[in-house]
Amino acid sequence: MYKTGATIIKELLLVLRDRAGMLVLFLMPALLVLVITLVQENVMKTMGEKSTRILLVDKEQQSIGQTVEKRLLESGLVEIVKKLNGKKVEEKEAVEAVIDGDFQLCIIIPKGITKSVKAKARQVVMKSLSVDDTPAGKEIQRHDIAVYFDPTVLGGFRSAILNSLKLVIVGIEIDEKMKVLSELLPEHINKTIKKEMGSFVPDNLIKDIPGIQLDFKSDPLLKVKENKASRDAFEKTPTSVQQNVPAWALFGIFFIVVPMAGGLIKERHDQTLLRLLTMPVSYITLITGKVIAYVFVCLIQFGLILLIGKFLLPLLGSPMLEMGSDPIAVIIIAISAILAAAGYGILLGTVARTYEQASMFGPISIVIAAALGGIMVPVYAMPIIMQEISVLSPLAWGLDAFLDIFVRGGNITTVLPEVFMLIFFFIITMLTSWVYFFRRTRNGF
């Protein structure tokens, strides 16, 4: 243990003094988490995963515009902006702002829409009540609500906005028609009865139709209830933070293969390893010290990335990282992933003959494993064949385990298969490097 401790201290000193290695271990994953999360936040806005700021130009300021605004806000889909630079926005300005990409869309409520909707509702109701003996009357001009979309807005979000608007319009139509109906129906009934029964009937037999409920939407007949598939009471919407923080933290963890493999190759080339092998210490002790040192470094790195998700990203407008309810499981997953990465680093450092080989192959293989593992694009969004291949990536095991805890409300039992896979990977890589090392050294350094 004393010799392992000495190796840990030596490795930590070497890591601290390796500026390029420190950049790879700390700065790179921190920047990746920040940049990718913030970029994807914006992508998610255009996909409708987040409430989007839209411009609303109400040219008449009457009931239709107010109703549209109220119901869109109630949908939670949008944040409504009606002023730019403190001034009420006009249609031309609003369209320009959308063209410039400052807003994803603008909605224009035309002048005269309230009057025309009311008139049209009256005409439609009168037509339906008069059956076939009422004249059609003068054609009423229709005023449509206009929507201008930024061309970059994705189809799903366009449909969601348009469907919401259509629902709002249907609601307004029903309201208006019911208002007219409740006004015209008693008169129509009186007229019909009087027509049938003549002068025996008083002028206002029925003043109102009892029991007509105008607000139909307050008690809908059917509702769609959205449920999230999670294992317990904890559930969290998979925001870009929930996906990116564990994903890029894992990516950073696996990048230790570069300094780790590089350190091993350097030790071999400058003959420090040769000197050590003539000393009373086993190769396993040396490697164990190295692995423990990197576990320690990577845990700090992992903690730093989580802190960025928890405190820094919210300051920049992203949601806060939620880490589930099982912190022990999070630490166990992190340690397993670090061990898997360390095992791969040792293997690479043992097999590669030069630093150039390791520094080329290491990062490329990590990027490929990350892409396969759903770090860049979620696995479910990949073609079936790629989804089948992705199960081979240790980064996929790690990410799946983290998402189990962070998003799906899992616990240590849920993530045990992934943890075992990561540890198994560590054992296999260590054994392979051990065998390879002794086969190589037996035949000369």
Partner: protein, 270 residues
Amino acid sequence: MGQPESLKMPITETEEKYDESIKEKALIVKDLIKIYKGSSDPALSGLDISVNHGEIFGLLGPNGAGKTTAISIMSTLLRPTSGSVIICGIDAVKQPNRIKKLIGLVPQDIALYANLTVRENLRYFGRICGLKGQVLKDRIAECLEMVGLEKKADQLIFKFSGGMKRRANLAAGILHKPRILFLDEPTVGIDAQSRNMILEKLSMLKETGTTMIYTTHYMSEAEQLCTSVAIIDEGHIITEGSPQQLINRPPGHTGLKDLFLALTGKRLRD
């Protein structure tokens, strides 16, 4: 030869009970053969060496003669194809872990961590050899003083000159007071002052009873330092004896260099 002083003062776990073995020779190599995998020619073909305690034994030879292979086998880094290596009475092939407690190596390259200070390097290698606490501190101080680096102890190795690196490399090899020190061209590529200092310190180390196996291409060094010398070529010894005996051997030579070229030829060995 009497029992060396360094053997009487155990300071580390390397200093276990080898009372029986220290009565014997420091190093006995018998019929050592090494054939590398994939090679038809043996790197060593029946090498025999016998070194007394406290001797500095020079192993001279052209490139590819088998010096590094021999040192690698003697220092437990390589397994021979056949033959035996006995160090202080212990079979180095069968019990390499016991041997590791007795030997020290000063490799040809600067086998130190460039991003650590010389003190940190010595502390690490000392701990790996089992040195602890005040004993470790004292040994580091002694070794730094011995190689003249006490004032540069907290400077990173990569900032050292070639000569300073060589001296630090030597310090790391002798830190744990090995009974046998293997030195593989320890003065290659350094200034005259550093070389002179290293040779002086090795002579001092000899006085304390440390046995040394020394390879070099500098014949003058071997003449000055070694108590006995063996010239090796094509994996076996072609002559051995004290430098003076070899030089005087008929028809007589102007020095070891002259003898060396006479025995190994002037053909380039690439």
